[in-house]
Every structure is written in structure tokens, then in C-alpha cells.
Symmetry: C2
DNA sequence: CGCAATTGTTGTCGTCAACAACAATCTTCC
DNA sequence: GGAAGATTGTTGTTGACGACAACAATTGCG
């Protein structure tokens, strides 16, 4: 937990001779505390690890989940549209869909109105699978609540609503 | 950042129009909204990009900045201690320090008390450089304030304080 | 002393963002 | 109607990053 945030300057003389070995929990972060990016990075690592662990039994990672969710809610989207909406490179989405298609969760249907693009749909298997994924994702979300508190999670979502 | 330049393809329905092409901003996220992880991921991408851009003139990335800050505040630390404190693999820290040492910002001093380890220090050049980095980082932090609001940034730091 | 643990290092593997190039196809404009 | 330009999906490369495994040198402990 390492909460002694009030520590200021734990430096011990080391300039030439003996090296002062300090425990990791005694090291001052100084300017790092107060940087939103640092806190957000650490939190994002934690939250992704919990997501990956909670959905480990179904082998679904956060990005895969977001793709499935968007396709499920908007059948027929093109790869370009999905990529743009989720902030994923379309080059990257190709591999993601290759994987999901091999697992029979998604299918690419050649669009007749624009033969360059594919209309993305969930398979029947994908629909039922996504339902299970959503239950597990909800469980993960409860872990977040346990970690930072229900009210804080709500506030967090509210603060960051503009980025979704 | 959900690039503002992606204002493309305002077309919505092709002439024969079987497949409905929708603009990216009209796509429903459904279950994705309400997931803390998704919002945090998008926010983290935005904040890192702004950090990288704001400190682009000095070519310092977030991880490099965190390493320099910790060493600056705690001279003489071993690589192990820095890695543990920042949640970086010690294997990864090797390359980070190689780069920073080549740029004459950091020096590894062989510890006499434990000849396995190195005591990490900023060079004189590193000290003055870090001062400049901190000014630019503060500017970046103001961008965050502009984006989500001063009060929200404070609240965010408070909520995520346990992860630093 | 001898053996386990630690430290820095090297290497591999997989994820992810950012680009670049390309063929097929569509749109636009002359 | 047709050439020129843009878009879509695809392949490939690069670099940052996290996770692991193995290794030599060194330390610490039984």
C-alpha cells in the first residue's frame, strides 16, 4: 500500500563512499506526485491487469472486449468506422479481427454497396459469448469499486466522460 | 485525443445504400460507457501524447522523466531500488539508463559497499536539464487542467493517490 | 566454508501505437 | 466517360513497453 506520502526527502549521504540502501517504500517521489499522468498510468496498469485476470478464463483482453462490444451494439460497421470510434489503428484492427474471426466470434461480410469494405457482425456464438464477457466485465468493475470506492469510481467516470 | 483531423467522410448513405455507413461520432458505445478501464485508457493515451508533445523539444518521454525525477530526489539509489519504486522491470531500466547515460544526464557509480550495484546520480548537466524538464512538465500539467478542469484534476489525483 | 539470494545484464516474446506502402475500389471533377 | 485523387483493407516496419528467463559477479547467511 505504501502510503507515507508525507515523506519529503529521504536522501542519505552517498556522494563518494558508502551507498545508502533505502527500501523502495521510503523513496520520495517528489515532483512525480502531483503529476496526473503518473497516477493515471499506474492506475491503468492495475485496472488492465485486473481486467485480464478477471476475464482470463475466457481469454479476452480489454481491446478485444471493446471491439466486440462496439460491433455487438452496431452491427454492420466497417473496420474503418470501428477503428475510428475506438481510437485503434485500422492496421491493428486487422489482426484483432483475424483473431476474433478465427474464434468464430465475429464475421466479416463483404459489403455490396462498397466492395472495398467489410460489414462486421457478431456470430450467434459471438452473441452468447459476449453476454458472458459482459458479466465478467461487470465483476471486474466491482473490483474497481472495491479498490477506489463506489463514489470515487462514479466521479472518475464523470470526470473522464469526455474521452469515451 | 480522438484526433480532430478525422473529420472525414461526412457521407452517410451511398446511392443505392444497403449498408448504412455511420460517422464515427454516432456509433453507440453501449456497455463500454460505464467501464472505468476504457475511460482511463483513452485518457492515459491523451495525457501521454500531450506529455510527449510538450516535452518534445527536449526529447524526454514520461518514463524517462519519472526515472530522472526519482534519481534527482534520491541520489545514490541502486537500479533495483529505482525499478521497484517506479514499477519498472530492472531489465528495462538498464536500457533506459543506457540512454540517459549516453546523453550525460545520469551517471552510474560503482558502489564500494556492494560491488554488485550502481549508485545512480544526476550529472551537473542532468540537474540543470531536469529543472527545464520540470518546467515543461508543469506546462503539460496545465494542459491537463485546461482539458478536465482544475478541480477535476485535483479530485483525480486524490482518487488515484493510492497508486503512486 | 558452501549455498541461496541479490544485482545488473542480455536476450526473447508479445502487446501496442505510429507510419509507410500497396492493390482494389470508390468519388470527384473535367 | 475517363483520369486523378481519396478511401478501405492489408502487409510490413519501427520503437516503446511489460513479462520472463538465463547468466556472471557478488553478497549474505546458515
Amino acid at each position: 500500500m505504501t502510503t507515507p506520502a508525507t515523506r519529503t526527502s529521504p536522501r542519505k549521504r552517498t556522494s563518494n563512499g558508502l551507498t545508502a540502501q533505502i527500501g523502495a517504500d521510503e523513496i520520495g517521489l517528489d515532483a512525480l506526485i502531483g503529476h496526473a499522468g503518473y497516477a493515471v498510468r499506474r492506475f491503468q496498469i492495475w485496472i488492465f491487469q485486473d481486467f485480464i485476470r478477471t476475464l482470463g478464463e475466457v481469454d479476452i483482453r480489454p481491446t478485444q472486449y471493446s471491439v466486440l462490444t462496439v460491433i455487438g451494439a452496431n452491427p454492420g460497421l466497417s473496420q474503418m468506422a470501428v477503428a475510428k470510434r475506438l481510437g485503434i489503428e485500422r492496421a491493428r484492427l486487422v489482426h484483432l479481427l483475424d483473431s476474433l474471426e478465427q474464434r468464430k466470434l465475429v464475421k466479416r461480410i463483404k459489403s455490396k454497396s462498397d466492395r472495398r469494405s467489410h460489414a462486421l457482425h457478431l456470430t450467434a456464438q459471438g452473441e452468447t459469448a459476449l453476454a458472458k464477457f459482459k458479466r465478467l466485465a461487470a465483476e471486474h468493475e466491482r473490483h474497481v469499486e472495491d479498490k477506489i470506492g463506489k463514489a470515487n469510481r462514479e466521479r472518475l467516470l464523470q470526470i473522464l466522460a469526455g474521452f469515451t
